[in-house]
Symmetry: C3
Subunit: 419 residues, 3 copies
């Protein structure tokens, strides 16, 4: 636990200047990193994967969050549940691979054996005084939002997950994530603090200059702009874009696909935002030719021209749902200076690789974009280490959601610290 | 020196729950690691090697213990002595290879030269006011127990080394270690705290599930068991095993080989334990076919069927003496998370490789076992890092010596801290 | 900033024993390293390179000093200027390669653009309330001493740079550094504290035993010696050497080349020392055959037999100016245990590689010497880590300048800490 009285963290939290990037210690201090892991990642809903990660009973996935290691397993009743990956005998880590299929959960060291409900069912030589029922695996809270898996490491998870689920369910459900499979997964270690990874994700001010692939399907007017700097022609274009978005929203919603923005990034403990946006070109997917990447459309979709439904959650995820595939990202802090970004590309579970989809085509836009973002995040981490760094101003036209991320983050710290 | 008043270490020492694995900070905290290096490795007898490491006058070995580097050298009077490997001029490390042969001990930087008694005998350009006699190498306490070399870095080493030597001499002497040579040496960095390495060494609860090679020569009944869980048949086997051990002890002791258990693991500053145990199969050695690995028997042995005399010392060694060879292990802490295990296989000094013994056959059981143990130790270190870790119960039937190691360790800290 | 009251650094500074190497924490403590970066490298003139590093307007060089990264650029008025390499928007590092040529200084992240005077000239989407003039690059003090570039990271740099420049200008100017080019550059990470690198540089007590190449051009009598240990013959040789130096100084000074020693290593904030010394053999340069390495002599020199003008500065540089080439060294601390030594070999800007000079011949003496010194520095760092290390005596005959470095260093700390 964190010592609050007179702790410099409290001063930094109190002194945060809205509209400006954070003070350097928020990005580089190992102590604040430890506080982040305790306060943010220890007490909020963390996105960790999808139900198709563990499609069958006995399928298990290991996710490491900071110093914690979590087993996520589908039990015999087809429920996805989570446990701490720590043996109750002498504390050995139990599962070692990201994915396995198990009958029971068996510790290699002395063969203590737990069933899929976490109960200790076998422990040799422990003598008559030993009570197995006191030595089951420690459970971890887990919730599935239409197949997106969130865990919470706190004893009392934030209650407003239900509100998010109620709002987001109708947006996500049509994409039928539970009937997808993971076509590809990438893991990229970005050399920057997790908050720089999130800030980078929350704006497209940098897209024009850095993402030649991503800017093919995305409309530039969606990135934000300063209207006062525009000429006649640009103003007309911006207006046209805005009308088109409106019109598409009307059409999609009429067809039963919720699409309009819902934004609670900074005013909820479980902050989130969503919006379905049209895409450029053929308008089907985040691909280089803007067409769908998989022939088997998701759910009961009949058309591929559904743009992309984006879903962002605080503190660590973003997701793009298209008619034919889903790309879903989690940011996992490793230390003050490094963050793992795990990306999964999901297609219909019956889609056949090489026939219905091609991995390269499916993944090339976001693989390239992730690498570009990693480099930019690294530049900011290098800069934040410099004694000459000072917080700079966010653009009021293109970085509003970066500001919402920061104000959510600082607000969560303040709340936890009782400030 | 350690700040004790109100130091959390004192609280952790006081709060240790007997019969349970240690609190996580004992395994993962860099501060407690530093305390271990000061209190345990800085003030106890540490096993570092064998006389055959430095067989001839001028032969020198460098052993690093934490931040210390020690020169162990056989002097011209054939005594093995030890010095700090630090030049008294500007502090350069003097010897750099694990093994060398030297006339004098010469610092490369400015050629200051020390003889094998550590006296500074040459230092150029130091002017008339300089007193060489104040600038000799700093000595380190060293004792040889029938060829096993122990050093102590404290000014006042524990006095009870003599008690151990008096008891252990008759057990070890018949194996005539001084007339062996090092046939093979391995160095393995285990990714765990040194105490996890020691705990792992102090029980065979894990052997059945993890050591397919080692369990060939070892009898499973020697690992301990919960009698109340046994059926008739198992109970009869256990009884038979116990009678056989008794009978062998009688025979060996009648033949002049002390064999019965002596156990002072937790009730002495210089804690130790010994026992000679029969082996399975041909009963000769820790080999895959349970036969001797070297044709030249040690000392004046006439038969190879002498089982294995084991010798364990606190805090950092274990040894297996057989009729034909000796395997001797030291655990050297590197940091809170890493420990070097150095293993030496000794055979008769006149045994010829390829004729009398084969390195693979000689070493295969313990090389495999070491690697398996390293993995298990790593699992525990990973688990101990998790906030979900909590101390778990040691089996009263198979982990009694793990408990003795922990109670010795915690007792030594308490004593040093004046608790 | 450093907490001084009761800080152990103050005790270490006060307790320093003159004539002895420093206490171990000065070499190994990360906290003292941080203090060094703040007090020494943050408030003194640091040598970073030469004007030929950025020969043309728009040429930029990046130099990292601790956590700082500095852009050194030649502006359109041909002045060399320096800025912090940190974008004023969200703090990204701007330039990433050691050398580039730029029109403006452009941040990759969101394309903020600064001109060569550091002014922000372009920043899109920032809205009407944004004032560019408050968001220019932060300047860093830079001075050129006849082409040697020094920066100071403090707001108020030490004023006595001008004194050093006034004294040293006439020594250095004849070598016409501004009309040289960098023929070769090496970067070597020495595994030791920066102060051990500097101490190593400030004596040649170690040269005879460790530098077979460097001792070809250098006269051994220049290394210092204890007169009382000499025999008749040696005394005569030493006298002859001393007379020769005197005679050469007379000759060179008559020819307009200042040559006599000026020494302010310990009595100035901006400590320095210089002397021109004859070389052995042909007496022309630091080469294996002691002849000039480049056919194009520097400046307006007509003879190559000018010995070597050496120039040492506190805290981090040394330089050797010869008739045909210049070798210039900077030591850049990386952490308590590692130091980058950057060496540049300069020849006349019109000299042609392969025709006028050969890289191997030019660089072989100092490349070999650097590697040898790095090993020695590493030995001292290893030794300083040992609890057995204690400060040892500097030779009053060969290590006087090491003592001056240490007393300058400790004095600067004392001054900064108000002791
Ligand atoms: S640590 Fe898991 S069974 Fe012993
Ligand atoms: S440091 Fe050993 S001789 Fe100088
Ligand atoms: S960080 Fe440099 S332009 Fe945004
Ligand atoms: Fe991006
Ligand atoms: Fe084992
Ligand atoms: Fe040198």
């Amino acid at each position: 636990m964190l010592d609050v009285v007179g702790h410099p963290l409290a001063a930094l939290v109190r002194g945060r200047r809205p509209g400006y990037s954070l003070d350097a210690p928020f990005y580089v201090s190992p102590e604040i990193f430890a506080a982040d892991m305790e306060i943010i990642f220890g007490h909020h809903w963390i996105y960790v994967g999808v139900e198709p990660d563990v499609p069958e009973p006995g399928d298990a996935m290991v996710v490491d969050i900071g110093k914690d290691s979590i087993i996520i397993v589908r039990d015999d009743e087809n429920r996805v549940v989570a446990f701490h990956n720590v043996c109750r005998h002498r504390g050995a880590r139990i599962l070692h691979n990201e994915k396995t299929t198990v009958g029971n959960i068996v510790c290699r060291y002395h063969s203590w054996t737990y069933d899929l409900s976490g109960a200790l069912i076998h422990a040799e030589h422990m003598g008559p005084g030993f009570d197995r029922s006191c030595h089951g695996l420690k459970p971890v809270h887990l919730r599935s939002l239409e197949g997106l898996l969130f865990i919470c490491l706190a004893d009392e998870p934030p209650a407003d997950f239900d509100d998010m689920a109620r709002v987001m369910g109708p947006y996500i459900a049509p994409h039928d994530l539970r009937n997808t499979k993971i076509a590809f997964q990438s893991e990229l270690i970005e050399k920057g603090n997790w908050k720089l990874v999130m800030e980078n994700n929350r704006e497209c001010y940098h897209c024009a200059g850095n993402h030649p692939e991503l800017t093919i399907p995305l409309f530039a007017y969606g990135f934000g702009f300063a209207p006062e700097d525009m000429d006649e022609h640009e103003r007309a274009n911006a207006h046209r874009y805005s009308c088109m978005v409106q019109e598409r929203h009307d059409g999609w919603e009429a067809a039963g696909l919720p699409s309009r923005e819902v934004e609670h990034l900074a005013d909820r403990v479980t902050g989130f935002r969503t919006e379905r946006l049209p895409l450029d070109g053929e308008g089907e997917a985040h691909t280089l030719d803007t067409r769908a990447a998989s022939k088997k459309l998701l759910g009961s979709f009949k058309t591929a021209k559904l743009g992309a439904l984006s879903f962002w959650t605080q503190p660590n995820s973003w997701h793009h749902f298209m008619s034919d595939h889903i790309v879903t990202f989690s940011a996992i802090p490793l230390d003050a200076d490094n963050t793992l970004v795990r990306t999964k590309w999901l297609v219909h579970k019956d889609a056949v690789e090489g026939v219905d989809y091609d991995i390269d085509r499916l993944t090339e836009v976001w693989q390239a974009t992730n690498v570009q973002d990693a480099e930019l995040v690294g530049f900011c981490q290098q800069g934040a280490r410099s004694p000459a760094y000072e917080p700079g101003p966010y653009s009021p036209n293109t970085e509003m959601l970066v500001e919402k991320f920061c104000s959510w983050y600082v607000g969560r710290l303040a709340d936890h610290l009782g400030l």
